[in-house]
Point group: C2
Chain length 228, copies 2
């Protein structure tokens, strides 16, 4: 299987390309980097079949809409629970196939109601969006955020994967490109606490209002197709 | 083998951790991110044995010196041809071992006289420093830069590796985390040209004077041990 991790320095977002037999999926593309992503896929002879969003992001606009203009056969994907529009709305347990491989949708709400984690068929990798970040997690103070729900999601759907499973997050702000389930179960600064402590930590982060949220959420609710 | 890629958003530098049996090497650490690198290694139970520099960088100060203060058993490594001071000065063909694995030193001068590429024992990965970047290469207009020498180095020492070998560069400015030898032989914007064309391209890049060079080069010539 072909695998590429890509990074947006501006929003610190990771985009992932997975492909098999010339068919590929792109997870969490960023609007400003669509040209790069199309070039990478073309040069690697990958036809992008699905453009996946782990959730309705608040910190950047998805590249899905612009990618669909260039790649009319590619379909946008987001969870039904996100409330967003897309070509394919997925639910917990659904599979998204490319070549002879697939990722499975694991509902991991808490950062938002519609957050999902995509798990590769052999469980070697999972793409956790903002549910699990390296040593951290997404905030829970906007967009239906619910710390208790996030704690339960991660413990049930991510920490139950093998310790060796690589965790590929939607963001990292310190240049760490991946982690493992085992590492996060041991070293995550928040998710290793008790449920009550976690809820308390998340209630007291004191973070500023996200600067992109008022632009990003409306755009992402239509998967970047803003002229709809 | 354990493998981690790490990124510095400021200088767009990639740092690489490779480890086997609890023993590791770090390639191209960055001074400002020493704390992160030490934490990653500690949490992964890796004892850092060697701190490698692909060359005497002009765009950031190596983390080697500060790492040695925290990890007194770790040894700094750079090529003899770089003219820099270090605990271990390596030459073309030398091997650097960690656990049951090793990387081999391939001299790839041209960006600087002392540039080397580290090639993993099974040739699955090479760490090209600034000799080969994704679709590009390091500039050749300072620090003994020589475009003809760089062209020859890359064609003899990097493009002769298997097409499947992953290329892990010292930098990328577009968030691309890796490439392959086959891709670069096909799509590198400069190194796919004829030798004469390459020399002409490199002579006419019109790049500004590197903003960090007057700080970085003196510091890197002593591998970050600036009080020597």
């Amino acid at each position: 299987m072909l695998f590429r991790q890509l990074f947006d320095r501006e929003s610190c977002t990771y985009t992932y390309l997975l492909a098999d037999g010339g068919e590929g999926i792109l997870i969490d593309p960023v609007k400003e980097l669509v040209e790069r992503d199309v070039e990478v896929a073309q040069q690697l002879n990958v036809k992008l079949k699905y453009l996946l969003n782990t959730h309705c992001h608040a910190d950047h606009v998805t590249g899905t809409g612009d990618l669909k203009k260039v790649l009319p056969d590619a379909k946008s994907v987001i969870s039904k629970a996100s409330g967003a529009k897309a070509d394919v709305l997925v639910n917990d347990g659904d599979a998204i196939a490319f070549g002879s491989r697939h990722v499975t949708v694991h509902a991991t709400p808490g950062h938002t109601d519609g957050c999902v984690t995509f798990v590769l068929d052999d469980k070697s990798m999972c793409f956790t969006g903002d549910a699990v970040l390296v040593r951290g997690c997404g905030r829970t103070d906007f967009q239906q955020g619910d710390a208790g729900k996030l704690f339960d999601s991660v413990h049930e759907k991510v920490f139950s994967l093998p310790d060796e499973t690589f965790v590929y997050p939607a963001h990292d702000y310190k240049g760490r490109t991946r982690s493992t389930v085992g590492e996060e179960k041991k070293y995550n600064l928040r998710l290793t606490k008790s449920r009550d402590e976690f809820i308390d930590i998340m209630a007291n982060l004191g973070l500023p209002y996200p600067k992109m949220i008022d632009v990003a959420v409306p755009a992402n609710l239509v998967c970047g197709i803003q002229d709809e």
